[in-house]
Symmetry: C2
Subunit: 403 residues, 2 copies
């Protein structure tokens, strides 16, 4: 394969799943230059030091960075610790987290443990922006704020909305985008990656590299926000539709299997190490009749392996199958309607046990489930107006509706 072909293929992988790229030509040059001369380039990605627990949504950027590393990039893994040291003398902003240097260090450690499950350690520099931002001093910070106007800052989407709705914006919030942009000046980054919601700040890096005569303007690649388990909202801790990358293998596997077939293909694009060709192949398999569940299992295995080591995915699949089979409810089960009564009486009434003593024995032996939950006591009353699935052992089921 000649170099131009290799560059084209690399570009396809780089662009895969991205929302927008600014300065694409330069990215192409950097990759070509790597293939031709082995010269590296830099790509910057910023991370919040106050929240080191990553979920799958965060790994969209990490997966893309891994691709870049394949094609010559040194990742500038930037921990934005400068703002974490900023206090609020008014005491109004109680929700903003302040971190001590020790906490920053601990969080950084947690980050590293997580990100090096994806990134190549040898092609990653972990950097802290407090280093050069503190060095700017009072003078440097004020100088930085001479470069941008109030009106242009208010053009940023969220600022505009808040300003129009009279929601307070602290002046410091006008400084943060400039600080993020200045990080690109200090690091002389060739590329910066971020979410689509970061566009304003990513472009600020380009602008400030020009103002401060860095001699280049970073290209910008924006990734979409990963849709969460619900298939509707972006993945977030607060919405609960997330997969934490430190969650146990079985949980991750089950959660991935719960997503829709449609979302699965989006996740393949954004999260899988499989090549575009491999993914195309899987799509055509499904068209030709293959059960999409198998494809989803492959994705789940890949993701579990990533965070719990090779082989962990297969084990999680076996566990899932076992549990799932055990708890499977047959489609056609006998139904009963009855008065409110004790579980022992109900098991007899639903013909799952021939006598109360048999019913009690099954409960004692751990063979009885209500709504798939094993029960340990006979002291349970079925309540008026509710429906229950009663089960003894693996094969005896009944549905009871309480009058």
């Amino acid at each position: 394969m000649d170099i131009n072909q290799k560059v084209e293929n690399a570009l396809k992988e780089i662009k895969r799943g991205s929302s927008e790229i600014i300065g694409e030509e330069r990215i192409k040059e950097l990759v070509k230059n790597y293939f031709e001369k082995g010269e590296n380039f830099t790509i910057k990605a910023g991370f919040d030091p106050t929240a080191p627990d990553l979920h799958l949504g965060h790994t969209v950027l990490l997966q893309k960075l891994k691709i870049f590393q394949k094609y010559g990039a040194i990742v500038q893994f930037l921990i934005g610790d400068f703002t974490a040291q900023i206090g609020d003398p008014t005491g109004k902003n109680k929700t903003r987290k302040m971190l001590t240097p020790k906490e920053v260090e601990e969080n950084a450690k947690t980050y590293k443990e997580q990100v090096f499950k994806i990134l190549d350690k040898d092609k990653t520099e972990v950097v802290f922006n407090s280093k050069w931002l503190n060095a700017l001093g009072a003078k440097g910070i004020v100088e930085l704020t001479t470069t941008y106007t109030v009106a242009r800052m208010l053009e940023r989407d969220d600022f505009e909305k808040r300003f129009k709705s009279n929601t307070p914006i602290a002046i410091s919030e006008f400084i943060y985008p400039l600080l993020q942009g200045y990080d690109s000046v200090a690091l002389k980054s060739d590329i910066e990656i971020g979410g689509t919601d970061q566009k304003f700040n990513l472009l600020m890096g380009r602008y400030l590299q020009r103002v401060y005569n860095v001699g280049k303007e970073q290209s910008v690649i924006m990734m979409p926000l990963l849709i969460g388990l619900d298939g509707i909202n972006k993945m977030s801790k607060s919405l609960g539709n997330y997969i934490g990358i430190t969650e146990d293998a079985n949980t991750i596997f089950a959660k991935v299997l719960s997503i829709s077939d449609e979302l699965m293909w989006e996740w393949y694009d954004l999260l899988s190490d499989k090549s575009l060709q491999e993914i195309e192949k899987l799509k055509s398999d499904v068209k030709n009749g293959r059960n999409p569940k198998e494809i989803k299992e492959m994705l789940a295995i890949e993701i579990v392996d990533r965070f719990h080591g090779k082989g962990a995915g297969e084990k999680a699949k076996e566990h899932f199958d076992r549990v799932h089979k055990q708890n499977k409810i047959p489609e056609d089960i006998p139904e009963f309607e009855m008065e409110p009564m004790n579980i022992v009486d109900a098991l007899v009434a639903a013909k799952l046990a021939s006598s109360k003593s048999e019913a009690r024995r099954h409960i004692k032996g751990g063979a009885v489930r209500i709504n798939q939950e094993k029960i340990n006591s006979a002291d349970i009353n079925l309540e008026s107006g509710k429906e229950y699935i009663l089960q003894i052992g693996k094969r005896k089921f009944a549905k009871v509706r309480i009058k």
Copy 2:
């Protein structure tokens, strides 16, 4: 006189000529405390380090500070050198002056030479805000900007106008009022004085002293902007209606004498060391028929003495009278109408000289003036359509109109 009476009188002198006072009760307490226990308090006044040449307009504040010094104040003479070191990386703002530390020092020296003609050196601390503002560091500056919102900053009159008219406002301009306010935090000032145009910034000092728990909130006294020689606009270098305090004695004297009687009383209030009682006396003198020109001469003498030493005012008055008498044009002088011609011929035609040779002799001897300007050459032609006052020596005049 009992203490309460003394305090009342002091308050009257303090309030004299001021536009607005905020926290007047506290000023009263501070003065009373001084009379009772001899305890000093502080009053801050900020000066621009880029323009050390003061005119009379600036001395309005200095005169008020001098009054405060009489009643126990230590003046914090603040040279705002921090902002003078701020560059503009965009290079757009070419008009803003940047100063080297050496230039700041030289300007400070010039300031001191000028202000200690008014202020008591022993009750004045000259301070530079770069000291504590640089010490804030990058972190401290950003923290400072968390204390104030964009919307409230835009309420400042000039910002609001510029924002509405789409005139660019650099974000740094939102920081400067906070820096000025922080000066009051660092200096723990009891009072700050400024022009009425500084109200927003003066109140910022109160606000930030509260936010930063200084334990007091500075009182604020605002002085009107001095009206210039034209009697209409505020005194300013660019309008040319000013009296520079380093101008020579004769110029200052003549300029003061040129102002209107109405403006004279305003200047007395804002610039004179005379007490309110003395000024009231002068006003009643004028009502009883005294020539206001004499009162104006007294003011001019006082101001010249202030900047050129005791006695300089009397000398300037004598010089003024001499020149004025010399150049006085009698009210009733002969008038002539004539063709365009040479000055020598004109002097003869206007019967000021009996012959051309006599006219030439007078010119050579320096006795001839045209429109009160001495001429040194006979090679001057009077031009068509103009009027000239011709004069030989002190007493011979003629008005000639050239056809």
